[in-house]
């Protein structure tokens, strides 16, 4: 039979032969598919974990370090790099406070001080606040959702390297005395071609391009992970509040960051090839910059604050031994804060002479955004009222957060009113306001949550006594630094002045602020020491040291490379509290290749088995190629035209499969 078929085979047309060949290949692959090892009752325990470890481990050495796609390693890097930039920005803040401690002080010259306050603002906003929230999210979300990796892990690695190169660009330029000196907001025409000669403002604008590409990439990664990779059974209603916070934050980044991408590119083109977007003499408008910048600027501060509300919810839930009161109200408050944040950017421009009727709309909008946050605070307090709060260090930071942030929120309501804002805008009163809502509102919860998840990340507990000392020092240092700024603002001290004359009554508040700044600095130093000290001396952490309810505490501390041997199943919104002894799991994922489970968006029913890409150097190489093109495009517009080629090559190699042959089940090598 076969020989008859053989000679008639050659006579058939090409498509016919192709079809038959493909069918035979399909049959062969089906056999091989049956032989694939999968986890389950037959393959479990230490044997399974050993094989999973071998499959998921990244290549060793520096190549492996650069090629890793493990969300935990990338998350750790994000957090450590962001904390380094926090320290650098903090040192700049100390320099500013030293200069402002005394009137007419000659410690730091005008140009140097202007560079320092620009670097302080840009570093804190773009290189510390957003990336550290991304870092914590990238590390914790996959664990909290019960999956083995984020979506698009290579894009995640690329996002970290772009963030790192952006930070290096800004700080190397600052050290080489070509750092920006136009403020973190770079209003035109001061940042325009005529009044900012040289490459200072270009370097600021290009740093924005780097960090916004990184934040957008990380946002897409987080949205896809939260929507598609949740554990079976974790419906949207059962999703933890921190996952809701990161989802809202990521969607806000996707809508807000393009605004600054557009206006910083328009600024670079104005400065490099002579376009006239912001040139009032050639039909442009200086306010176009302010509108586009603040359309991004205000959502940016909520992008920093909303993950912090997620932190507070998780800490309050765990340390009050009960789920947050009115879960749905907190989720709706998060979503409405995210939406409302896009409608109030003009409150930064009350003094620019726009029509007054428009201003009253923005006053109302700016006030209304405090309602959802007010409800959230009520829900946390109600959780403490009905729960059994244990005031360990993370919970102390939540109490410090509530005391501090509500003051910042109320001063925010004050500057929302036009007649008040015309006196308070661009004075130290506003400096006090935004430090209350950014340090009080985001850094306090961040310190709390770093203490809370430290055992999960490192396997060791941070010291409780040192933690309490650090908290009180932070709290006192913060209020000593920033409360007097309300007073110096009301006494008429404008922002961004490198000195002030004696005799205006500003000496006392500025001196107190300067002393407080050093107290706050020692507190942050103490926190870092506590972190480093506990790495080696800290008590060994059990998988669930705080007795929390979310899935990240269901795996070991620190978690294995593959996070979960079997993908857990969720049956309530506080899984670990409602499980009697045994964790329900689903089985059947491959063991010889990296694979995780995708579930449907709303009901989280198992949907698709998704292969996870292997570690690869290409994201790092692509980041270098894109980075060089960005930096070279400061010096010549041709760099973009020439640079597209290396970037296209690197990105194609990133996507191109290693061996061009079919596998029984798809593998991303």
């Amino acid at each position: 039979m076969t020989d008859v078929r053989a000679d008639s085979f050659d006579a058939m047309p090409a498509e016919e032969r192709e079809r038959i060949r493909v069918e035979e290949e399909n049959r062969r692959l089906a056999q091989e598919r049956k032989k694939i090892a999968r986890d389950g009752p037959k393959l479990r325990g230490a044997k399974l974990e050993a094989r999973l470890e071998a499959t998921w481990r990244r290549p060793p050495g520096i190549i492996g370090w650069l090629a890793t796609v493990d969300h935990k390693e990338i998350g750790r890097r994000y957090i450590i790099t962001a904390l380094l930039f926090l320290a650098l920005g903090g040192v700049l803040a100390l320099a500013m406070r030293l200069q402002l401690a005394r009137p007419d002080s000659a410690l730091i010259g005008a140009e140097r001080y202007n560079q320092i306050f620009t670097m302080h603002g840009s570093t804190m906003m773009f290189l510390f606040a957003v990336p550290v929230m991304e870092g914590v999210g990238v590390y914790i979300i996959p664990l909290m959702l019960g999956t083995r990796s984020t979506a698009f892990p290579r894009l995640n690695a690329f996002s970290y390297f772009m963030y790192l190169f952006g930070g290096l660009l800004l700080w190397v330029a600052f050290v080489l005395n070509i750092g920006p000196d136009v403020g973190w907001f770079a209003y035109t025409p001061l940042s325009g071609p005529q009044f900012s000669p040289g490459k200072r403002a270009d370097i600021w604008a290009q740093m924005i391009t780097f960090t916004e590409v990184s934040a957008l990439a990380a946002a897409v990664v987080l949205v896809c992970t939260i929507l598609k990779a949740r554990a079976p059974g974790m419906t949207l209603a059962r999703m933890p509040l921190f996952a809701w916070a990161m989802l809202v934050q990521a969607v806000m980044i996707i809508f807000a960051m393009p605004a600054i991408a557009l206006c910083s590119s328009m600024l670079i083109s104005d400065r490099l090839i002579g376009t006239n977007f912001y040139n009032a003499a050639e039909h442009g408008d200086a306010l176009l910059w302010q509108h586009l910048f603040w359309f991004f600027g205000h959502p940016e501060v909520y992008i920093i604050f909303i993950p912090a509300t997620g932190f507070v919810s998780m800490i309050t839930e765990t340390f009050c031994r009960r789920p947050v009161f009115a879960h749905a109200v907190v989720v709706l408050a998060l979503i409405s804060t995210g939406i409302l944040a896009f409608g109030l950017w003009v409150h930064h421009m009350f003094a620019t002479g726009l029509p007054r009727v428009g201003y009253s709309f923005y006053t109302a909008a700016s006030m209304s955004v405090s309602i959802p946050t007010g409800l959230q605070i009520f829900c946390w307090l109600a959780t403490m009222w009905d729960g059994r709060p244990r005031f360990q260090v993370p919970m102390l930071y939540v109490v410090g957060f509530i005391i501090t942030f509500v003051i910042g929120g109320l001063t925010g309501v004050m500057v929302a009113a036009v007649p008040l804002d015309l006196q308070l805008h661009d004075t130290y009163f506003v400096v006090a306001h935004f430090h209350y809502v950014l340090i009080g509102g985001a850094v306090f919860p961040l310190l709390g949550v770093l203490t809370y998840w430290y055992p999960k990340i490192t396997g060791r507990m941070m010291s409780e006594t040192l933690g309490k000392i650090t908290f009180w020092l932070t709290f006192i240092g913060f209020h000593m630094t920033f409360f007097p700024m309300h007073w110096s603002g009301l006494l008429g001290m404008p922002r961004r002045v490198y000195t002030y004359p004696a005799g205006l009554g500003l000496e006392v508040p500025n001196l107190i602020s300067s002393i407080g700044a050093f107290v706050l600095a020692t507190a942050v130093l103490l926190f870092v020491l506590n972190g480093l000290f506990s790495l080696y001396r800290g008590a060994i952490a059990t998988p669930n040291p705080w007795g929390a309810s979310t899935l990240e505490w269901a795996t070991s501390s620190p978690p294995p490379v593959y996070n979960f041997a079997h993908i857990p199943v969720v049956e309530s919104d506080t899984p670990l509290w409602d499980v009697e002894g045994e964790l329900p799991v689903v089985t059947g994922l491959r063991v010889d290749e990296k694979e995780t489970l995708l579930t449907t968006v709303v009901a989280a029913t198992p949907d698709v088995r998704e292969p996870i890409p292997a570690a690869s150097l290409w994201p790092f190489i692509s980041a270098i190629a894109v980075g060089i093109v960005f930096i070279a495009s400061i010096f010549s517009p041709w760099a973009l035209a020439v640079g597209v080629i290396p970037c296209a090559i690197a990105l194609t190699a990133w996507f191109w499969p290693k061996e061009l042959k079919r596998h029984p089940e798809p593998v991303i090598s």
Partner: protein, 203 residues
Amino acid sequence: MILEPRFTDDVSDLPTHKFGPSSLTWWGVLGYMVIEGAAFALAFAAYFFLMGHEQGWPPEGRAAPDMLAGTIFTIVILLSEYPNTLAKRAARAGDVAAIRILLPVMVAIGAVLLVIRGFEFNSLNCRWTDDAYSSIIWALLLLHTGHILTDWLDTVVLAGLMFTPVAYEGRRQVDVDENSMYWRYVWLLWIPIYAMIYWVPRL
């Protein structure tokens, strides 16, 4: 004390690829489409913001861009939807032979469009340094050119990949499906830009 697993059900027979919102890359492509949409929406807002300042648009007697190149471009890009839809259906049907014909056609159409776009840049009757009007028009055209160029390069790489044996894997057909979805987005965005560059100055 890690909890003992209680085995509920087995997912080994789930598929490894699906079309539409069940696929992870569909959400990734959607994410980037929203990002670019936000950027274009803000560019449109900047365009009308700058236009709001002027009595005449284009200002003081500058000629509006010539229609020829732009209109040809629009016709060709709208016609390209036909092979694009065929490619999308072929991808859903898993018909690799058809894909191997249609993707090179899309690559060719993309190349033709990029050439027409070159003529469009010449027919703008202004240089980006003249005034804010010329700057924003050049910016819009350049942004959309970037948009076409990136998707064209995607299609070239994907077409190359479809000629390898890997083409028969389901995930690659999902890629073709999503690339067609993205191409629809490219010409959908072109319509308002076309109106703003060629028609609004003539109102």
